[in-house]
């Protein structure tokens, strides 16, 4: 099983990865269900340097969401990291207490998930919900929190931040809600943002907007990204390195270029051929005349 993690993958990673200390380091992590004794994730490894983006591709049940939850310290009770280690900004998360985790979440590592409306209180306007995060994490007063919240709404490219601030979740579309959640997620200036299927439920144009937003945030602030999706193309757009997961195993790991143009595992080849046979790629043989 030469495809699984380890040296094969590392050799082809971009050189910059070795230069800076990784902000998130996942080493041979296994996740086991303590109740049934079954191992669900069988050894996943990757390193994320500041400002980099890593993509994790897999179907539901492949273990990608569990890996994210492990990195956030929110695995369900009966699931545990049974082997391997996760290091976040130099801290090994294995020994972290609840208080330490609270300190890390939001300010070091943060996340947005698939269904934005279920992460917001439906009876409170969205602006104050972001302001609350700022007040708690940055310990500033109400007025300043409000100003910062407005600033954040502007930075996530919402057109009328003042309007959106005082709207309720049900009044906003899926794309706008996801932006609001991204704003809340970056409110405390984290170093790593995990986007777990954040665009799966969105229409194609809105999905592109959110992905472009994440790319812009990465450029402007050096935010490191973990993009989790089931579509290889979504991940290919943003990421420097890609992992392909299937049934809890890493079947492919390498730089984006290597995974796309020199895939080794059949499953990766299936994902690629789906795009090439039935996707837009079939037609886009040459760049459009109006493209630089």
């Amino acid at each position: 099983m030469a495809f699984i993690t380890g040296t094969a993958g590392r050799e082809t990673e971009p050189a910059t990865a070795a230069a800076a200390d990784p902000i998130l380091s996942v080493r041979d992590v296994h996740i086991r269900d303590q109740g049934t004794g079954r191992e669900i994730v069988h050894g996943i490894s990757f390193e994320l340097a500041p400002g980099q983006a890593v993509g994790i591709v897999g179907e539901s049940g492949s273990g990608k969401t569990l890996t994210c939850r492990a990195a956030l310290g929110i695995l369900p009770d009966q699931l545990q990291v049974s082997a391997g280690s996760i290091t976040l900004a130099g801290h090994d998360i294995a020994g972290l207490s609840g208080k330490q985790w609270t300190g890390l979440r939001g300010s070091t590592i943060s996340a947005v998930f698939q269904d934005p409306s279920s992460y917001l209180n439906p009876s409170i306007q969205v602006g104050p919900q972001i302001a609350e995060v700022i007040r708690v994490k940055k310990k500033v007063r109400r007025r300043e929190a409000r100003d910062r919240a407005l600033q954040l709404l502007r930075s996530v490219r919402l057109r009328n931040p003042e309007n959106v601030y005082s709207q309720y979740p049900y009044e906003l579309s899926g794309g706008m809600l996801q932006r609001v959640l991204i704003a809340a997620a970056i409110a405390a200036d984290p170093k790593v943002l995990i986007a777990d299927e954040a665009t799966t439920a969105l229409d194609v144009i809105v999905q592109a907007e959110i992905l472009d937003l994440l790319a812009a945030l990465r450029e402007d602030t050096g935010l490191a990204l973990v993009i989790v999706a089931h579509d290889l193309a979504v991940v290919a757009q943003l990421c420097d390195q890609v992992l392909v997961l299937r049934h809890g195993e890493v079947v492919e790991h390498g730089s984006t270029a290597d995974v796309l143009y020199r895939p080794r595992h059949d499953y990766t080849k299936l994902l690629i051929s789906e795009h090439e046979q039935y996707g837009l790629d079939r037609f886009l043989d040459s760049p459009r005349p109006d493209q630089a």
Partner: protein
């Protein structure tokens, strides 16, 4: 569905008890050792060889009265449930298809019925219209109809707006076909549940009415009537009410148990139950749908 209900222990117990009760109703009078109306001089007698449950204040054999009285009580309860079913379920299903006006009218009618204090109205109407059993049953049936209406309307609405009914429409299905193939199978389970529990309720109401002296007139025996007359002579026969009370309790309990069992094997729980019993080879995980 019957098989499914019988496969559950609750279902088996309920059906067993109810079968005994129904048999009592059918053969009760024939099984009675003496005539339920025959008075003897052995009044308020204790349990003895000739009178297994003793005698009442007029010397009539209690056991015979219980057995003979079963028919009136049970038949009464079933009649009540059936009246409620027809008056409630048919408009309930129909109102989804007969237009807004009909629906509005029936809804308001049902709202009114629900708001009436049950037993008081039953007593009042029977007092007004004469003291026969038929009247009492009719009144109680009408008062119990709303629950059938709501249950059948809700079930029909959810089916009528479903995608699989739309798919049938797109294939050219007529309304009759849709009702027959799709609506009935979704509506019958909740109606059965309501029917079973209404038999229980109806039984209690009929017993209460006969306890109050409405409906079946003495000296014809009913369980409720027996309970009532027994209470008058508690100091002489403290154990006397136990028999009719137990029978009433057992019947109502079994009816509700049956309702529960039907509910457990229909709807989503029922489908999971049916699917779990079909043995199939393990499928490769790759073919699992993405959700």
């Amino acid at each position: 569905m019957i098989r499914r209900v019988l496969s559950r222990p609750a279902g088996r117990i309920a059906v067993a008890i109810l079968s005994v009760i129904v048999l009592l109703a059918i053969f009760g009078s024939a099984l009675a050792p003496s005539s339920p109306l025959a008075t003897t001089s052995a009044q308020l007698g204790h349990i003895s060889g000739s009178h297994w449950l003793g005698t009442d204040y007029l010397g009539r054999d209690t056991l015979s009265r219980l057995l003979a009285g079963s028919r009136a009580s049970i038949v009464g309860a079933i009649e009540v449930a059936l009246i409620a079913f027809f008056i409630g379920a048919v408009p309930g299903i129909a109102c989804v298809y007969l237009g807004r006006v009909f629906e509005w009218l029936t809804l308001r009618l049902v709202d009114t019925l629900i708001s009436l204090p049950f037993l008081l109205v039953a007593v009042a109407v029977t007092a007004l219209l004469g003291n026969g059993m038929t009247v009492a049953l009719l009144v109680v049936g009408v008062l119990l109809a709303p629950s059938f209406y709501r249950v059948s309307r809700a079930a029909t609405l959810s089916v009528a707006r479903s995608q699989y009914v739309e798919a049938a429409q797109l294939s050219g299905a007529s309304l009759t076909w849709i009702v027959r193939s799709h609506v009935l199978s979704k509506v019958l389970p909740p109606i059965s549940v309501t029917l079973a529990s209404t038999v229980g309720t109806g039984f209690v109401v009929v017993s209460s009415l006969s306890f109050l002296g409405i409906g079946v007139q003495p000296p014809a025996p009913t369980w409720g009537g027996l309970l009532s007359s027994d209470l008058n002579y508690l100091s002489y026969q403290p154990w006397a009410p136990v028999a009719p009370a137990l029978l009433i309790i057992a019947t109502v309990w079994a009816a509700n148990l049956l309702a529960d069992a039907i509910r457990d094997v229909s709807g989503d729980a029922g489908r999971a139950y049916v699917s779990a019993r079909v043995k199939r080879p393990r499928q490769p995980v790759l073919s699992r749908g993405g959700e």
